[in-house]
């Protein structure tokens, strides 16, 4: 049997390199997937422009952050971007509503098949992508300020006397806390408020909802505002945690879709669970367990290789593989979303 200290070391190692990163990445995916799933539930199409909506919102947040920084505004230990967030959400909401009025509302009135709306969203994706690249450029931008760490690896080591350090980034905690607040607020809104109930009714059965006097335009408007807010928050949190690059945000589209489908598309709770499922599998499948096993296994029996299930190069492919497997095995997703 391994000693207690070794077990603790192994757990710390795993927490530092798998659990914490997956928790924050999963939260970001969950927020993104919530937006996709809401649009799918209410407007009934897969929005290919969601990744670029995230990029747009984040770009606005970055620009306002820079402006605030030049004015000397700050939140102390918290990143200034949080202060910019409400303005960014507002701007993003306005832009997506403009796109809805000019592009999507036409196909809704025509009762076009969903695939037409999806193709139209490809057009919107092109335009959003161009706007972002035009304004802020295609390069990497870092905009995180304030305290970087809550606990540094070395502090943790001296505190606990363990071999392994556990670094807790402030962005990780921030991401998790904000996600918790946003998700709770959203669920409260959907379950309790009048508009939220109307939205759920509309998503369940459009005709019945219309008959009972629900105003569809209002529902659609609220959906876009919520989706824009979720996209912006997810984008800003991801950008604070890693960095902002338009192309990365475009690529986020796929893990987000994967999260929404794995959880069960059209099901908000599914999007949240799906986000964490994708993030945890991405990180745990590509993590090299050699050191972890060294702590746990008796001496001399540790594995020769890295003990890695899949090379890190395929990190990005993991979410798609999960997506494909889910589509094959249980196409409605974990929480029984819409029939495909």
């Amino acid at each position: 049997m391994p000693e207690t200290i070794d077990v603790l070391n192994a757990i710390t190692l795993l927490a530092n390199f798998v659990l914490l990163p997956a928790l924050s990445y999963g939260s970001q995916l969950a927020l993104g997937a919530l937006g996709v799933t809401l649009i799918f539930g209410i407007l009934r199409f897969a929005n290919f422009a969601h990744g670029d909506t995230m990029a747009f919102g984040t770009m606005i947040a970055i620009l306002i952050t820079w402006w605030f920084q030049s004015l000397g505004l700050s939140l102390g230990p918290l990143p200034t971007a949080l202060l910019a967030l409400p303005f960014a959400i507002l701007a993003t909401a306005i832009v997506v509503i403009i796109f809805d009025k000019t592009v999507f509302s036409f196909y809704r009135r025509q009762k076009s098949p969903p695939v037409m709306l999806a193709i139209a969203s490809v057009g919107v994706m092109f335009m959003m992508n161009a706007i972002v690249r035009f304004i802020i450029g295609p390069d990497d931008q870092r905009f995180a300020d304030g305290e970087k760490f809550i606990i540094k690896a070395r502090e943790f080591k001296t505190m606990t006397g363990l071999n392994e350090g556990l670094a807790i980034k402030s962005t990780t905690v921030l991401t998790v806390v904000i996600t918790l607040i946003v998700v709770t607020a959203l669920f409260w809104f959907l379950q309790r408020s009048r508009t939220g109930k109307a939205m759920r009714a509309f998503s369940d059965n459009e005709d019945l909802a219309l008959l009972s006097g629900i105003n569809p335009e209002r529902i659609v408007l609220v959906t876009w505002i919520i989706a824009a807010a979720l996209a912006t928050i997810a984008g800003v949190l991801y950008g604070l945690d890693k960095s902002f690059k338009p192309f990365t945000y475009f690529q986020m589209l796929l893990p987000i879709f994967a999260a929404a489908i794995v959880g069960g598309i059209g099901q908000p709770i599914g999007a949240v669970v799906g986000g964490y499922v994708i993030a945890f599998s991405e990180l745990s499948i590509t993590y090299a367990y050699k050191k972890f096993l060294k702590y746990l296994l008796p001496e001399g029996s540790e594995p020769e290789g890295l003990a890695q299930l899949l090379s890190t190069d395929y990190k990005f492919a993991v979410s798609f593989i999960i997506l494909v497997v889910v589509l094959l095995v249980r196409p409605t997703g974990i929480f029984r979303g819409r029939v495909l």
Binding site: F106, M116, I119, F126, M128, A130, F316, L323, L327
Partner: protein, 455 residues
Amino acid sequence: MSNTIRATFAFTVMAALLLLVGFYQSWNVALTILNLCLISAVMSLGVNIQWGYAGLFNAGVMAFTALGGLAAVLVSVNPVGEAWSAGGLGMLLSAFIVMAGIAIIVLLRRWLAAGPLRKLCTAMVVIAALVLLRSHYYDAVQSIEAVNPAKTGFLGGLGMPILFSWVIGGVFAAAVAWLIGTVALGLRADYLAIATLGISEIVIAVIKNEDWLARGVKNVSGLSRPVPYEYQLQNSEWFISLVQRFGESKLALLSDTARPAALQQMVIEGSSVFVKLCYSALFAAMLLLILWLCGRALNSPWGRMMRAIRDNEEAASAMGKDVTRRHLQVFVLGCAVLGIAGAMLTTLDGQFTPGTYQPLRYTFLIWVMVIVGGSGNNLGAVLGGFLIWFVWIEAEPASLFVMQFLTSHLDDASAWRTHLIDSAPHLRLFLMGLVLLLVLRFSPRGILPEQVRRS
């Protein structure tokens, strides 16, 4: 306006645009654009087969073009003997293990009734195969990649002329499409799009990371050519005399001393134009062949059945048509065309660079071509390929020019002006989105709409 007149007019305008580039920019540029226009047209024909005939939203175009490119490498590059002797056996053994595993699973599924026992057996076979693979495959990969990694480090190809790869590329893409199709078809249209988009990223990830196959992101360059090299032309008698005959009037104006230098310059320019023309002829032949086949298919009973399935799946299946099988068939066919186009593209580039395959350029741009050109109409798809590629290329200098004009009142050194001018190339993405949305909104059937015949 009847459809024929419309098509003639549209293609005349297209030709005039290319000629304009030839006269005002240079013939080299015009031919470069033309070659890629031809390849784009083949690609959009492939997407048109899937979307226009059958209504399948394939968002994995990128993967099939890349597979075609991979075929170009695997066909034309000479085999690396050392790598084969180092790891070839291990690689063949791994391939054998994979195939044996699949065969056993297929047999198991046939012999055992569905239930926990079958699941357990399948899982055990999978795990056993993976354990066996691990020992052979990784050793083989390492020994192959260790062979002169700066230059080879891969198994190489068959050393055949690169033109064969156009067929092989189609076969590669069709095989992978068959796999994907059996998995993903039957999903609702926009799910199919997401699934294919995801799978295409997996395919690219594999090509990028499996260095033993085609060097991954280290690229394979210097592929053999189906047309002569420029330096060969510049040194051959017949070509120089050909150039002389073409440039007689110009050369006659020059003095005797200046003539050889001018001729030399003309030969250099001419050789590059000649090479591009050769490519154009090859690509045009391929395009016409595929276009002819597509036309035959679309006007046959098969094409009528496809349209019937597209327009009303339930009615078609009630008439006894096997919708899923027909979808699979048309998906595989379309992907084969995409694979051919991919092989053509790599042939033209002379190198295979997996890192450059991006969904915006290789998937969504092709979609814009099909929708703008006219989905369901073969000529429309070809026109879309030409027009959108032309706009995609020419929008860059045009937006730069417009931006320079708009900012001309600003100070040269002003940060605004440099930013605006630097960012101008991104405007073409905006233009593409705008064109797509406008066509979709105001002329959803495209420039050359599908002909609907009513009896």
